[in-house]
């Protein structure tokens, strides 16, 4: 039997790999439901953003150089993160400005790299999912996804098809949550105030669930919501879309909360 499904390399991202495998499995289910054959290439670790955004361009370049061969043999590369997808899409080619051969390969990878929800809607034409989630959620647009990849409507379109789910808009949807990768630990006072303001905005919606497409932002917001004593549950949008919220507690909650 020949398998003519498009092949997708799941670039799982280091945060999902290390902190929340459930997001990876949710992404796999969504991609398979959308008719893709999913592979998790072994040569992947991190997109290199921590180094790249800290001015360590050469380490970022070497990470990309090491990862490109693992990804290029697939029809598509999909990441459950706007930030990491934007790194592959916009910044990897730029890292090889002085190496024409590698630049061509990086550009080829960039051209077929997608953030998960936009891949489902824009490439696979998915109109809705069959999941159910009983609750009221607000969706936070992570900055890289929103401004580097133009992701805003795609996750919302998919979420509107989730049975039992009501969506509420944030008051300031375009405002950064204050994560910013290493920014959160380099400037904790400023980052702390930003995520506190964001948390207040989330609470004001009256939603019981916070969703987003980037685990970094989610860990930041969930961490602050918990510190504020909030009961709001934070989850990656893929968990809800895949109907897999029963498999792990929300971000920042444990067995004790169940």
């Amino acid at each position: 039997m020949t398998d003519d499904r498009p092949t997708v390399a799941l670039f799982v991202t280091c945060l999902v790999d290390l902190f929340r495998p459930a997001v990876g499995f949710a992404a796999v289910r969504l991609l398979e439901d959308a008719g893709c054959a999913v592979t998790v290439p072994r040569g992947q670790t991190c997109c290199g953003q921590p180094a790249y955004n800290s001015g360590d361009r050469s380490d970022a370049r070497e990470i990309a150089r090491r990862t490109i061969p693992a990804l290029e043999g697939h029809d598509y590369i999909v990441a459950p993160s706007g930030s990491c997808a934007a790194m592959l899409r916009h910044h990897w080619p730029d890292l090889f400005a002085d190496e024409p051969d590698m630049r061509v390969r990086a550009e080829a990878v960039a051209a077929k790299t997608w953030e998960l929800t936009s891949f489902l809607t824009d490439i696979r034409g998915v109109k809705g999912v069959s999941a159910r989630y009983d609750g009221t959620a607000t969706y936070h647009d992570s900055c890289s996804g929103l401004r580097e990849l133009g992701i805003a409507e795609q996750p919302r379109q998919l979420l509107r098809s989730v049975a039992g789910l009501t969506l509420k808009d944030l008051g300031a949807p375009e405002e950064c949550c204050g994560f910013g990768g290493t920014f959160a630990v380099k400037y904790p006072d400023i980052s702390g105030r930003m995520v506190d303001d964001k948390s207040a905005d989330i609470e004001k919606t009256g939603a019981d669930t916070l969703l987003a497409g980037d685990l970094g932002c989610l860990m930041n917001m969930a961490g602050r919501l918990k510190r504020r004593g909030s009961k709001i549950k934070a989850r990656h949008v893929a968990e809800v879309l895949a109907g897999m919220t029963g498999e792990v507690p929300p971000i920042g909650e444990g067995e004790g909360d169940a």
């Binding site: 902190f19 001015g55 090491r66 697939h74 900055c143 401004r147 580097e148 444990g254 067995e255």
Partner: protein
């Protein structure tokens, strides 16, 4: 903070102080939203706004590629019309030139329109030290002059000052008025400022303004204001001095109007400012008013060194302030925390270029790269990208913080070696996951104080995705 005494090195402490200042916080929360809403509304009314941005970028790129040509043409035109052009390599030279003009005019008081170049060269302090009284005539500038402060915003210098604080400053500075007068309404404050200012305008010997644009084909300088103070500053005294930095040049009047269409909309959300004033040389015989002398001081102060480098794009800036109005960091710490003349994203790029990366190293780092500044910049300056370049420069010079210099290369080494990465991270995550399994988070964690000071740290699930994937026999290699 002053032009000569930046506090950029103390950025972290400055920011902490700003975060603790409840009056400032209240002001910031409302002011930033006003700016953002007004810009959004103005942009929505102009369908060709995005096209204009492209055009404006093209104009400035062309100017920067031919800057010497346009500056020389500008100089020729100014001289033809009887004006003078002075070239200042740095702040000290610019100050001396201005002082020289003031002394030649026998000046005792000078009125001033709003000028960031004046802030950059620390002109007021210098004039005072030399026995000349500078009077700021822009209301915001006047307020902060009374409070002995620097501006906290490039278009709204008193952005950080509440109405009540203005009242206090006026009571202290204007003993000539009834001490029991009401200053609760903005109108009352404006009227009082106007009354005080009128006398100053008439008494001034020299008027100093900035310039938003220098038009090469006509030798004109352009300022935009909403108070009309600029006009009175430059037409009433017998000498008019224009302070401008080199990159303000544009080829033609038409180019200037293209940029003007973007400027006010991006800055205050107005289609046009209330006053847009073109000055071309001194008063001619047939003119009803105008200065007898017209001087333009052209300041370099590090800008020409950016030409032809990967930082050149910052010179497209037209100082609208949209980047800071939309910046989430500026939005919580305000302008003074940045520690030198230009705050917000534009300052994070410009200040290190003008006063050195050693001095202003924090600024390009204190950004989440959320990208909103670039999204609203009318001149399409890639501000986050330029901040990243400055971070690269710091990293190359070994100026990056310890954690970045040591921690990141270790992480990067692991990230380059997937097998080793999996070997090292797996036990650490399993341990963290096991420790956090009940609460699902940590309130404190060794080495993560920066994170846990204000938020909990979510615990990992335990085993990594890749380990679980292998356990399930998931597909690992390409091929069908």
């Amino acid at each position: 903070m002053s032009a000569q005494h930046p506090t950029t090195r103390n950025f972290v402490a400055n920011a902490r102080e700003a975060l603790a200042d409840t009056t400032l916080q209240k002001g910031l929360a409302t002011a930033k939203l006003g700016f953002r809403d007004r810009r959004t509304a103005a942009v929505a009314l102009l369908p060709e706004f995005e096209t204009l941005r492209d055009e404006a970028r093209g104009i400035k790129n062309h100017v920067l590629a031919n800057l010497d040509l346009y500056l020389e043409e500008f100089e020729r035109r100014v001289i033809e019309r009887g004006g003078h052009v002075h070239w200042a390599a740095d702040a000290a030279e610019a100050r001396e030139i201005v002082l020289g003009i003031c002394r030649a005019a026998g000046a005792r008081t000078v009125t001033k329109g709003k000028s960031m170049i004046s802030e950059e060269i620390g002109l007021n302090e210098f004039l005072e030290d030399n026995g000349i009284v500078p009077v700021e005539t822009d209301l915001g500038e006047y307020i902060i002059q009374l409070r002995h402060e620097a501006p906290s915003h490039i278009i709204a210098p008193a952005f950080h000052v509440m109405k009540e604080q203005v009242g206090e400053a006026f009571r202290a500075a204007h003993p000539q008025f009834d001490p029991n007068r009401s200053l609760n309404e903005p109108r009352a404050l404006v009227d009082e400022a106007r009354t005080v200012m009128r006398e100053k305008f008439l008494a001034a010997d020299v008027g100093i303004t900035g310039a938003n644009f220098l038009i090469a084909e006509t030798g004109s300088t352009v300022i935009v204001t909403n108070e009309g103070n600029g006009d009175l500053t430059q037409t009433l005294p017998k000498v008019h001095v224009v302070l401008a930095s080199l990159e303000k040049a544009v080829p033609t009047l038409e180019d200037a109007t293209t940029l003007l269409r973007l400027l006010a909309r991006s800055a205050t959300g107005q289609e046009f400012t209330s006053y847009t004033t073109f000055s071309t040389g001194p008063r001619r015989k047939e003119d009803l008013d105008g200065p007898e002398e017209f001087h333009v001081v052209l300041l370099d102060n590090g800008r020409s060194a950016l030409l032809g480098t990967d930082m050149q794009e910052v010179l497209r800036c037209i100082r609208c302030g949209a980047c800071m109005n939309h910046c989430p960091v500026f939005g919580v710490i305000g302008g003074h925390a940045y520690g030198w003349v230009y705050p917000g994203p534009i300052g994070a790029v410009l200040n290190p270029s003008l006063i050195g990366i050693e001095e202003a190293g924090h600024l390009p780092n204190a950004s989440t790269f959320c990208g909103r500044c670039e999204a609203v910049c009318p001149m399409r300056i890639p501000l986050p990208g330029l901040m990243r370049r400055l971070r690269e420069r710091q990293f190359e010079k070994g100026l990056a913080p310890m954690a970045a210099r040591w921690g990141l290369p270790v992480w990067a080494f692991l990230a380059r070696n997937p097998a080793l990465y999996r070997l090292v991270t797996a036990p650490a995550m399993r341990l963290l996951g096991w420790l956090g399994r009940r609460r699902g988070r940590f309130s404190r964690l060794p080495g993560a104080g920066g994170w846990t000071a204000s938020r909990d740290f979510p615990a990992p699930q335990g085993p990594s995705f890749q380990a679980l994937w292998d356990r399930r026999g998931g597909k690992r290699e390409a091929g069908r």
